[in-house]
Symmetry: C2
């Protein structure tokens, strides 16, 4: 066996550079957060695996909110503007952020996407991250509330297997509960799995398809927004 | 607005360091591939989102293969050895690779995990990556065959939204087809989405739960293994 020696030096350098990028991201995120506060915009970010139902959930949320307040959304993806096209049906301003090969959104991308929007025209901004349960965890986007979604089809043990994102999120949403019976999903086991990682984390179960649980979610959002209003 | 200037310098440095790491990974992967060839081990890697059904698929594959040839598996996760525990039921050697915060497997991790296994005792090695449809795409693990799985619950447009992994994989597996009707999955649209990204890519549809399509998958594997036998 003659494999090259472990690339310890490069790995160390990678960690150093990554630490620096995260630090710069935190600075941009902090500036964004202050800017959102100044303009009275409440910001909610969504993180999940690909296909956990973020976009339908967001579409339903936007449709229900748009008669009550001024909402808009930024949506991140590696490629395509499929999500922006879908969300446009909710009749609110939507902008796609195409990340190329980058596996997460960064504060700088959010800032650039907002360049030509007037924040005074907004009450709530939603930011849908790239579908990825790992990398987005490390990047603050200046949001007030971070949601992590996982669908009943993904299995009850996801929180234990992807703990970091559950540590950094404020609310866990179990999505697609209309499929719970079909996939024999054990809700109690899922709740235990979430609370094993993050004791006391608020959990909502919902179906964006049937509407079940959407009212509770909007109430949760309104309560948090009222409490956190700048 | 006074956010810090764009961190162009750090970003460039990040890309440089990442390029170096990928290059080193490729070297380790090449050495691994040569080693696998020397010992006559055919290596199959699996990539998908969290919860697309990699582990059940692998469990069923191992159970069916173990009477015909000598199989083993490495499984990657950020945390927990849940998957190794599940796969142990298939009565084959299984080892968990816990990556911590790393969002993908690297060739070096595979090499280290194999340190105390005798490759002469193996015919097929399966390597299940961390659940992530983005980052694993860039890391060669020395495998002969790379599978990308996506489940019917994730939606038909996933290949267009995560093209890189489809470009680097050899076979697309559409999993959980027993749920296709329940989620109104459009198989033809999914096939078109895959072939829009990667014309001619082989596609298998299957259900590890009901067994549908497993025979076709094992035939595919056997044909490829026979053709690629070292």
């Amino acid at each position: 066996m003659s494999t090259p020696p472990p690339s310890a030096k490069s790995q160390t350098r990678m960690v150093e550079v990554r630490t620096k990028i995260l630090k710069q991201n935190d600075l941009v995120a902090r500036a964004l957060r202050e800017r959102f506060q100044r303009h009275g915009v409440y910001v909610v970010s969504l993180v999940s695996s690909p296909g956990a139902g973020k976009t339908l959930f967001l579409e339903q949320t936007l449709s229900r909110l748009r008669t009550q307040c001024r909402v808009a959304a930024l949506v991140g993806d590696l490629a395509t503007d499929n999500d922006a096209a879908r969300l446009a049906r909710a009749m609110v301003p939507v902008k796609q952020i195409v990340t190329g090969t980058v596996c997460h959104l960064e504060a700088q991308m959010v800032e650039e996407a907002l360049a030509d929007w007037n924040l005074d025209d907004l009450d709530i901004l939603f930011v849908e991250n790239v579908g990825n349960l790992v990398c987005p965890a490390s990047y603050d986007l200046g949001e007030d509330l971070r949601l992590v979604l996982f669908s009943v089809t993904e299995g009850e043990d996801k929180p234990r297997k992807y703990p970091t994102i559950f540590h950094t999120a404020d609310l866990a949403v179990i999505s697609k509960i209309e499929l719970a019976a079909a996939v024999e999903f054990d809700l109690e086991a899922a709740r235990q799995s979430i609370h094993a990682v993050r004791p006391g984390m608020p959990i909502l179960e919902l179906s964006a398809k049937t509407g079940q649980g959407m009212e509770a979610w909007l109430n949760f959002l309104e309560t948090r927004r009222a409490a956190g209003t700048h």
